[in-house]
């Protein structure tokens, strides 16, 4: 049972990691918590759902994920263009980002409510049998797929940020945007890049969450809270910290639910966050401690 719970926890943590990184990446470059990410995840879950359902013959899941990520990029850039770009241009206070991103998330959820009601829609069955056995552990195929897709995406992302020129430029902008300009880094390009990556992450996590929990308007917002908590525990803006915290949160949640039942799980996640804020307010990574929204 222990291994079973551990595996489920890791798989859950992997999705939280995608959300947390989507959060952390925008925070590290632009220094604000992008709550619109939750709304984006919900839209992407719907897009993935209808793509999977209407396109004939039914596309394999990776095609759906790819298509949804592209839609995620487009929406993310659109959002930046109509909302955040003007805040940047006017050099408005950070609170403006916070308020508008929260508002956008609420608007998106409300619109989805109007069109699709609150009833969850179930993704078509992806696998003919839902589980397989390894030794005496019964493993869900869905969870395995989610784990693999998430880990692959996280590895690609870490490679992009740690090893490529664009990634180095993104890190430079996150540390010191003014001096980055003197290196010849075009900050607008880096911002577009950041929102594109956040869009991809929203797209992939939307499809994966939709597969796991069904598609409903609040999906993104409820999950985003987990991702946000993970990125706070990890140290806002730190990708490595956010990923570590997300896995930790996923595993704790699984064990807690097994022992205490699912009703008290949301309480537990916030308690973990509060504990971290008391004991280690700078987060696991210990960077970017001061600016939290």
């Amino acid at each position: 049972m222990f291994l079973q719970l551990l595996f489920n926890g890791i798989s859950l943590g992997a999705v939280y990691a995608l959300i947390a990184v989507g959060f952390a990446i925008v925070f590290s470059v632009l220094k604000f918590s992008n709550f619109a990410h939750g709304g984006m995840i919900s839209i992407c879950a719907y897009i993935g759902f209808f793509f999977q359902k209407t396109v004939k013959p039914t596309p394999p899941i990776w095609v759906t994920i790819l298509f949804t990520s592209l839609c995620g990029i487009v929406m993310s850039l659109f959002l930046d263009r109509i909302v955040y770009a003007s805040i940047r241009r006017n050099k408005s206070p950070k609170n403006y980002y916070f308020l508008s991103s929260l508002t956008i998330s609420i608007i998106i959820t409300a619109i989805l409510n109007v069109f699709f009601s609150k009833n969850p829609l179930a993704y078509p069955m992806l696998f003919s049998s839902t589980t397989f056995n390894v030794g005496n552990i019964r493993i869900s195929r869905m969870d395995t797929m989610i784990l693999i897709v998430s880990v692959v995406l996280l590895v690609l992302l870490i490679f992009l940020i740690d090893k490529t020129k664009v990634g180095l430029a993104m890190r430079a902008v996150s540390i010191d945007p003014e001096t980055s300009k003197l290196m010849g880094i075009n900050s607008n390009f880096i911002i577009l890049m950041t929102f594109s990556l956040a869009g991809i992450l929203a797209g992939v996590s939307g499809v994966l969450l939709g597969c796991k929990y069904g598609v409903f308007p609040d999906l993104g917002q409820s999950m985003m809270i987990k991702g946000f908590i993970a990125s706070v525990i990890g140290g806002l803006g730190s990708l490595g910290g956010a990923i570590a915290a997300a896995f930790l949160l996923g595993i704790i949640e699984m064990f807690w639910t097994y022992v205490m039942g699912s009703l008290s799980t949301p309480v537990m996640t916030f308690v973990v966050m509060l504990l971290f804020l008391f004991i280690r307010p700078q987060g696991i990574s210990g960077r970017f401690a001061k600016e939290k929204v």
Partner: protein
């Protein structure tokens, strides 16, 4: 024709005009100094050239109008080394150097790194260390090396001696002379008038946003008014 021609350069911060239309010529292969006291507008001048702040008036580089966005200025080969040793703390020394070469295509990056490590052996010893943990002097060397990574046609140094120990200041000026020796044009902005006039071919004196005097480094050094105002000597 000089390499960089500045005509009628004006910069305002809100309603306050900081530069009231200055003219400067920066000759190729020379060290040009811009001296003046605190708040005279020296850093403003450099930032205007870099495209970091908006300006009016004309700046021509090799006979062409200089673009106004900072990334294009860097691409053209005009590199600013900012005041106050702005290293990227949290990135390694080597990553800092690589960022200096961001505007290049990356083909020469290995040789360029090697060249900077030869010029600044301390940086080689610390290449994988967090740049934020270096001493003040080492950080100043790092930002200069980072600037050189871009193959600058003009290197603009903003107060490179500020806040450094005297022995490190001498080292910095020795490096500036060797940069000039390698054929790079230098624009040096300094409060330390004495030393900068000694190593510069030509100098401008900035006061309250106006150029009040210009001449060769040695002629300004022997000017009694300059001596009284900037060199701490009595007439």
């Amino acid at each position: 024709m000089s390499l960089l021609e500045i005509r009628g350069l004006k910069v305002s911060y809100g309603y306050v005009e900081a530069l009231h239309g200055i003219d400067m010529d920066i000759e190729e292969g020379r060290v040009t100094a811009l001296i003046g006291s605190n708040g005279a507008g020296k850093s403003t001048t450099i930032k205007a050239i870099s495209g970091m702040i908006r300006h009016s008036g004309s700046i021509t580089f090799s006979g062409k109008e200089l673009p106004s966005s900072s990334n294009k200025v860097v691409k053209a080969g005009i590199i600013q080394i900012p005041e106050g040793r702005r290293v990227f703390a949290g990135l390694s020394v080597e990553e800092n150097l690589k960022l200096g070469a961001y505007s290049l295509d990356g083909k020469t990056i290995k040789e360029d790194l090697e060249r900077q490590y030869e010029l600044f052996p301390r940086l080689r010893e610390r290449s994988s260390q967090d740049a934020g943990t270096l001493s003040g002097g080492e950080q100043q060397m790092l930002v200069i090396a980072r600037g050189l990574m871009a193959h600058p046609k003009i290197l603009m140094l903003d107060e490179p001696s500020l806040g450094l120990a005297p022995i490190v200041v001498n080292e910095v000026f020795r490096i500036i002379e060797s940069i000039k020796g390698a054929g790079t044009t230098v624009l040096l902005v300094e409060q330390n008038a004495n030393t900068s006039l000694k190593i510069s071919d030509y100098a401008y004196v900035l006061e309250n946003g106006h150029i009040v005097k210009e001449g060769t480094g040695s002629s300004l050094l022997s000017d009694p008014a300059i001596a009284a105002a900037y060199l701490g000597k009595r007439e």
